[in-house]
């Protein structure tokens, strides 16, 4: 058993790396509560063990059953914890209000959660990505929406978390303080591949961030490349695998189907062609494939993709077949 | 719970009870048949039953409170939807049902009194009247439900109503709904005839109220259809002329007018209404044409409200609340029937009337919930 996390010098035993302004506050309160807890727990256990030995039943010993009540003692152990929890509550509230109070001048990113991918759109220039790129030492504001079920945005290194609820926008903000690459998790259970709904946050210096955004905004020229580009960004990748090995994901794989007859859940057989793919993207319920009846439902992309984007996706799917061994 | 046992004014009961309880210890052979072996005396049994029933009523209130909370949340969020939709509920029928239930509460309370006083015949009669009222209520409710189904006023995703378009399903929902009550009524009638043949007073006392209740259900159906104005008979959706629908339509008209004048017809809203492809503008010779506003403008509030997420949600809440209430009515009818059997056996007396009293409490609660439902759903405007 190797304790890899102990080797991570960026973090101690307890915490992941601290990379936002919230980390200090949260970690302080955490350690404070931890010590308070130890302060209560250790005496309780010592007293328990001591009483166990000292007052154990044994020949020649008889306890005295008088100590049944001690008002000063009882008041003490009611009042002292009360003051302590009031302090804990207060500290927690102050920290929470910091997290809830949105600063004015922010770098805005729109977050879309859809089973089981994160998609980020940068307000600055409209660039899109699946890894969250952020500039260091800036207030970041996320405007989050879900296209299907509940998700939750969680970056342990930032000590920040917020649920993403379909049908409304949720906002959160934080202030990254350290360049680096951090984990981003979905922490609200969202179906089959919940545990793969993870990506990275890359905190970059301001110059690198600007360069990255400029690079991201460019859509590939080639239609197949653009299809692949969309495939990765529009959350297709999470369910429909495009690997040559035909790995079975939560949804039907793309390769090995083009031009063939495929069975549908309602018993029909249709040809896997442009029309079928288009129908499956815009109206997934009507094109439900046999064998995927218990898979989580795919949301419709009606209004989410432009016609030429659908064309590009079709070209990409078609290319998987004609190229023979496409990349995963 | 105070231990205030009912003080019985009738001396013959006193002696009877005394005979049962005097000088006995806890051996259960000595218990009278109506006193369960683990209770010490009638008072303890009565108090237990009463407290148990009150606790059960508390759970019932909390059960409904979930739906009342949903009602408050969504009405608070979209008050205009509730106003728009409540106009489709026939408040005359609602009022009749309220009256019927109130009357049944009276008969139920009378039944409790009769059971204490050993007025067995009166008790059966009162329980029968309560049962009959419940059946009338359900009959009227059936008409209301099926009428709405045929107009497409269905919950949530099933909501298909396009009022101005005169959506009307020709499916007859009412007849299938009547099959089970009809079969029951026939069975009750046969039972009654059988009881006459064997000349059993007990069976007559049971079968009579049941048969009456069965017939009451159809009385309720008739009453409902009479007031709903024969809209089920197919010819109305083109004409819009008859009284019942006219009343509805005039409601719509008012809403359209109100909301239409409030909304300055923003471009995107009208675009949305044409986008949905649902012809929300009145195309028939409906009364909307009489209103001197631009039909498109008048239709806008409907476009926003007349959809599955808005009006559909209202009808979800409507069906859930009234449906769960109706299930409680049916449950109440079952226990009242059980009481009728016991009453026909003349089991109740001043020291043992707990079951009647407790069912009475339950029945008052069901009534009470309806008293809230009626204004909250029917009388919004």
């Amino acid at each position: 058993m190797n304790f890899t996390f102990l080797a991570d010098e960026a973090a101690g035993f307890w915490f992941p790396p601290a990379a936002s302004t919230f980390a200090e506050q949260v970690d302080f309160l955490y350690m404070a509560i931890l010590w308070i807890s130890i302060l209560f727990f250790v005496p309780i256990v010592i007293a328990m063990l001591y009483f166990m030995v000292k007052f154990r039943q044994r020949p020649g010993y008889k306890g005295s059953p008088e100590a049944l009540h001690n008002t000063p003692l009882e008041i003490t152990w009611t009042v002292v914890p009360t003051f302590i929890v009031v302090w804990i509550f207060w500290e927690g509230m102050i920290g929470y209000l910091d997290m809830a109070r949105m600063p004015d001048d922010t770098v805005d990113v729109a977050v879309t959660a859809v089973k089981w991918n994160w998609a980020f759109k940068y307000k600055q220039n409209g660039a899109e990505s699946t890894v969250l790129y952020l500039p260091v030492n800036k207030d970041i504001k996320l405007t989050m929406q879900s296209r299907d079920v509940l998700h939750s945005f969680f970056v342990p290194a930032f000590r920040a978390k917020r649920d993403v609820v379909p049908g409304r926008y949720h906002y959160m903000w934080f202030h990254p303080t350290k360049e680096g690459v951090y984990d981003l998790f979905c922490t609200e259970y969202c179906g089959d591949n919940h545990s793969t709904m993870i990506t990275k946050v890359e905190v970059l210096s301001e110059e690198k961030y600007a360069a990255k955004l400029a690079e991201l905004v460019k859509e590939p020229e080639d239609i197949v490349e653009r299809g692949k580009w969309l495939y990765e960004r529009k959350a297709c990748k999470g369910c429909h695998y495009a690997g040559a090995d035909g790995a079975k994901g939560p949804g039907p794989s793309y390769n090995g189907s083009w031009g063939k007859q495929v069975p549908l859940a309602d018993g029909r057989e249709v040809k896997f062609d442009e029309n079928y793919v288009r129908e499956a993207i815009l109206n997934p319920g009507a094109a439900h494939r046999k064998g995927y009846e218990t898979a989580s439902a795919m949301p419709s992309y009606k209004g989410q993709l432009k016609d030429e984007q659908i064309d590009a996706l079709i070209a990409f799917i078609q290319s998987l077949e004609t190229a023979g061994a496409p990349a995963k | 719970m105070g231990r205030c046992a009912f003080q019985d004014p009738i001396s013959e009961n006193m002696t009877e009870v005394a005979a049962h309880t005097d000088g006995h210890d806890h051996g259960h052979h000595d218990h009278p048949s109506w006193l369960a072996h683990h209770f010490d005396d009638a008072e303890q049994q009565f108090d237990s039953g009463k407290l148990g029933m009150w606790l059960f009523l508390v759970t019932e209130i909390l059960f409904f409170s979930g739906m009342f909370c949903a009602y408050v949340l969504y009405r608070n969020r979209n008050p205009e939807v509730f106003e728009f939709c409540s106009a489709f509920l026939n408040e005359k029928l609602g009022a009749i049902n309220t009256g019927v239930l109130l009357f049944s509460s009276l008969t139920m309370a009378w039944a409790v009194r009769a059971s204490q006083l050993k007025q067995h015949k009166l008790l059966v009669g009162m329980l029968g009247a309560t049962l009959g009222c419940a059946a009338i209520f359900l009959g009227v409710k059936s008409v209301e439900y099926t009428h709405k189904w045929s107009l497409g006023l269905l919950p949530g995703r099933m909501y298909v109503a396009q009022m101005e378009n005169g959506y009307h399903s020709d499916v007859d929902y009412l007849t299938p709904l009547c099959i089970a009550p009809a079969v029951l009524t026939v069975l009750f009638a046969l039972y009654y005839v059988y009881s006459l043949v064997i000349a059993s007073k007990f069976h007559q006392r049971v079968a009579g109220p049941l048969l009456v209740a069965g017939l009451c259900f159809f009385g309720g159906i008739y009453l409902g259809q009479f007031i709903e104005g024969g809209e089920h008979h197919g010819d109305s959706h083109g004409a819009h002329a008859d009284a019942g629908h006219g009343e509805h339509a005039s409601h719509d008209e008012e809403h359209a007018k109100e909301a239409g004048s409030e909304t300055p017809a923003p471009a995107e809203a009208s675009a949305a209404s044409s986008d949905t492809g649902v012809a929300l503008v009145s195309t028939s010779s409906g009364p909307l044409h009489d209103v001197a506003v631009d039909p498109k403008e008048a239709a806008i509030p409907n476009a926003e409200v007349n959809n599955q997420g808005m009006a559909g949600l209202f009808f979800s809440i409507y069906y859930c609340m009234t449906g769960v209430h109706a299930v409680h009515i049916i449950g109440g009818m079952l226990v009242i029937s059980w009481l009728i059997v016991k009453a026909a056996r003349e089991e109740f007396h001043s020291k043992y009337y707990g079951p009647v009293d407790n069912v009475g409490l339950y029945w008052h609660l069901v009534d009470f919930i309806w008293i809230y439902l009626f204004p909250l759903l029917y009388l919004i405007t």
Binding site: T4, F5, F15, F22, V26, L29, Y30, F40, M48, F51, K62, G63, P65, A67, H69, W77, P81, V85, I88, G92, M93, I94, G95, Y96, L150, S152, F154, P156, A160, K161, P166, G167, F185, T187, Y189, N193, T196, P250, S296, A297 | A36, H38, S48, L51, G52, L55, L62, F63, S65, A70, L73, N78, P155, G156, M158, G309, M310, L313, Y319, C320
Partner: protein
Amino acid sequence: MSAVTTPITAPTTTHDGATEHHYLNHSSGFLSWALTLDHKRIGMMYLAGILFAFFLGGVFALAIRIHLWNPNQDPDAAWLTNATYNRVFTLHGAIMVFLFIIPSIPAALGNFLLPIMLGTKDVAFPRLNLGSFYLWITGLIFFAYTLFSTQIDTGWTFYTPYSIEAKSAVEAATLGVFILGFSSIFTGLNFIVTINTMRPPGMSWFKMPLFLWALYATSIIQVLATPVLGITVLLLALERTFGIGIFDPSLNGDPVTFQHFFWFYSHPAVYIMILPAMGIISELMSVHSHKGIFGYRMIAYSSIAIALFGFLVWGHHMFTSGMADVTTIVFSALTFTVSIPSAIKVFNWLGTMYQGTVALNTPMIYALAFIFLFTIGGLTGLFLGALATDMHLHDTYFVVAHFHYVMMGGTLVAFLGGLFHWWPKMTGKMFNDPMGIVSAAIVFVGFNLTFLPQFVLGTRGMPRRYASYVPEFQSLHQLSTVGACILGFGLLVAGLVLLHSLFYGKKAPMNPWGGATLEWECSSPPPHDNFSHPPAVGDPYDFANVEYDGKTGGYYKKKK
């Protein structure tokens, strides 16, 4: 009462040759159990049922831990597919919560003990009691149906909108929960009425054993909170069948409303699970310390306080759900109010041991393990009640560890302690005490090894309900899995000790531990009607007259 029961003509004989009638041999045959109105038999049937459910849930728990031995980042190499894993953890949670923990102490031990502790013949409504049991069985059948069809993969919380679109047997599971809810309501109702109206003369409220106070507080919650769960799952089932839209954002419904409805029940339900456990510990600490309970009134009041405050804190499950800031802060403040009565109880239990005569036998060892584990569970609640830290810890393994410390380290361990404590009363057999202590020790070690690493996992950011995880978490996960296997082994030993006693155990004396409550004043096992004469009611925690008798190996109450 029951007409079908047939009294046995030749009752069993004990070693001393005397014939003995008790509830187990009162009548025989399948129907004499299936249609019994005797609270003791109903309690025993519940016990068998919930132990079966516990076994089932435990198998799923082990499956989870074994699956998480590897990070499973390559789904093809994982033991379970993601979809299967989701079903396994959902079934583990749902079975453990709805079929095991909630009914465990009230329905099994409570049913058996409540009337005896009250000195009555039965609960107020014996037929309703049997009805509750069959509702429980019906709920079990619904769950069995989901198990053999497409299972459930929504998590035990059934959060919408995933639960609306999930293609698994959610309807059957929600109806199962609905039915189990009514089983729970009727049990609670029965207990409240029994305690209110059937206390014997001389037993005032403050002469009641604390286990009864705990059951009373629990019953209040069961009666008041469960109906809301009932309507919530009913609406969810309707949502799936008719698309009513109340919780469906695509129809303008609000998923956060579902969370409010759900936790309005399910948070008080947490106290349905822990309050009876606290009641058991109060009994165990006092009886095995041979000393009256320290601060009786405070413990009694704190039970009721927890039950009432428990209704006001449901929002702390939703701090990240996007409630208004004010709401969030108020819920956080209210949450801390619940911590105080719980702390008071721990101190009182320690005070009970002070200057007592502490018998270190199996039930007491379990009770001491409870104090250790429950204190950790309670203190880690402070991290989650404080808003700033909860933002980080919410929905991570920290939460998982916290509620396992409370629910399992608390309720399960107390349940086992209570089971060992009253086992001689229920079955009339003594178990092997040293082996019982061994089982408690293994459970204790295994439990800590399973769940202590999960606190670290959670703090480091490991989200819950993950079928796969980033490799840095592997070593802690493996520690946890090793612990789970030890824990499973410990529970197996405990089960075997009890099973062994049924066949080879010595005959239990009337009062093997020296308790002063009424259940120790009837024979072990109790006769059909519990008491031939109504027992004299005294102080339930007055041990002054309880004397050991070497001949029977038990205690007796000296007549004053």
